[in-house]
Symmetry: C2
Subunit: 194 residues, 2 copies
DNA sequence: GTCAGTGATGTCAGTTGCTGACATCGACCA
DNA sequence: TGGTCGATGTCAGCAACTGACATCACTGAC
């Protein structure tokens, strides 16, 4: 028998989600999370950098997945098409974890501080996608803008997927959102053409 | 003579910027800021919600200015044109405060925590612009997407304005960035048309 | 001119997030 | 057998933030 119960990190995540959902994020202390996981506060901070981070473990994995998917986009595609390709590839990842995603999303929406962290993760995604686009030959400034736009699509598609009652997959929401973005940018062209 | 020196808030802001620049954000304590301003820590927290917020006072003002500018955009313009109109209007606001902006920008770039707060302010801008676009008759989802895109432009234009050595105004950077966005979204149209 | 009320500040004590230093002790390896 | 390693615990401490209450120049009503 090993000295400690296995999967301390997973237990901390589970405990945190339960407590944040039960009593709210701000009303929960790190000591309580650790206690429910059968650990000490100190151990919590060995696994997670701060009180927020428990909810965002796995976002590095998502980031890597997105980077890889974007790298595998066909070489000839425009930046936005490539991003669409990459985002659509995330479909199964989300669709398989829908219940957890909904719970986590509700918790994050309940706290300012957590939304702040989510926004930081978002900017990290932008920072990760930009060089991938540059390697595809896109100008740095354009790459950055495309990455920003892509992550906006990522995010809005995610939100409409969360709100979706009809069970459509994440990839469908990506397509819709991306089409909206194209329409949006195309609309003024008519006015600016002459 | 009044009981206290005037402009406690302004003194706290000045002290914070000095200390953050001199010793770094993390190495500075709120007590030190308060002391340099001739006040106590408790008073600091009556003026600012937390250690970060000193640097973001004024962002409500910016938000209001942007909302007003967008509301005044000609009724016939497309969402993106309207946003371009609103953003260009911020030009003088930034151009007049360039030295302060550069100092503040350098501080924020030096700290993760501060970038996190900046991202939160950014999402607050999106939340403020969305209903304005809706009132112009834009569909809610499209309004949100347009607001996100607009704030991306706002932000990227700001960054290239900060980096600009040639003294071009903020409004010029907005025009450039907006043109990039349009080109970006238009490019794939060619591929997707047939 | 007095006096009660107001509002910005100070004082103090307490909670919680987070960190460094060091101890513990099963597992694993030579 | 013994020594190292790695995950955890223990403990002390700092800094961010908060609530409760005190202070006292200023202001306005009378």
């Amino acid at each position: 028998m090993s000295r400690w119960e296995p999967d301390a990190l997973g237990r901390l995540q589970a405990a945190a989600i339960e407590l944040y959902a039960e009593h709210g994020y701000e009303q929960t202390t790190v000591a309580e999370i650790a206690a429910r996981a059968g650990l000490t506060e100190r151990t919590y901070f060995r696994h997670f950098a701060d009180k927020r981070e428990v909810l965002f473990h796995g976002s590095e994995m998502l980031q890597e997945a997105l980077v890889t998917a974007l790298e595998e986009a066909p070489a000839g595609e425009s930046p936005l098409d490539a991003i669409g390709y990459g985002l659509r590839r995330l479909g199964p990842f989300f669709d398989e974890r829908r219940p957890q995603s909904l719970r986590r999303h509700a918790i994050i929406r309940s706290s300012h501080e957590l939304q702040e962290r989510e926004m930081l993760k978002r900017s990290s995604l932008v920072a990760a996608l930009t060089p991938v686009l540059e390697r595809r030959g896109v100008e740095p400034d354009v790459a950055r803008l495309a990455a920003e736009s892509g992550i906006s699509v990522f995010h809005l598609a995610y939100e409409s997927w969360v709100a979706d009652q009809r069970g459509r997959g994440y990839a469908e929401h990506v397509d819709e959102t991306l089409a909206s973005l194209r329409a949006l940018a195309a609309a003024p062209a008519a006015a600016s053409l002459r």
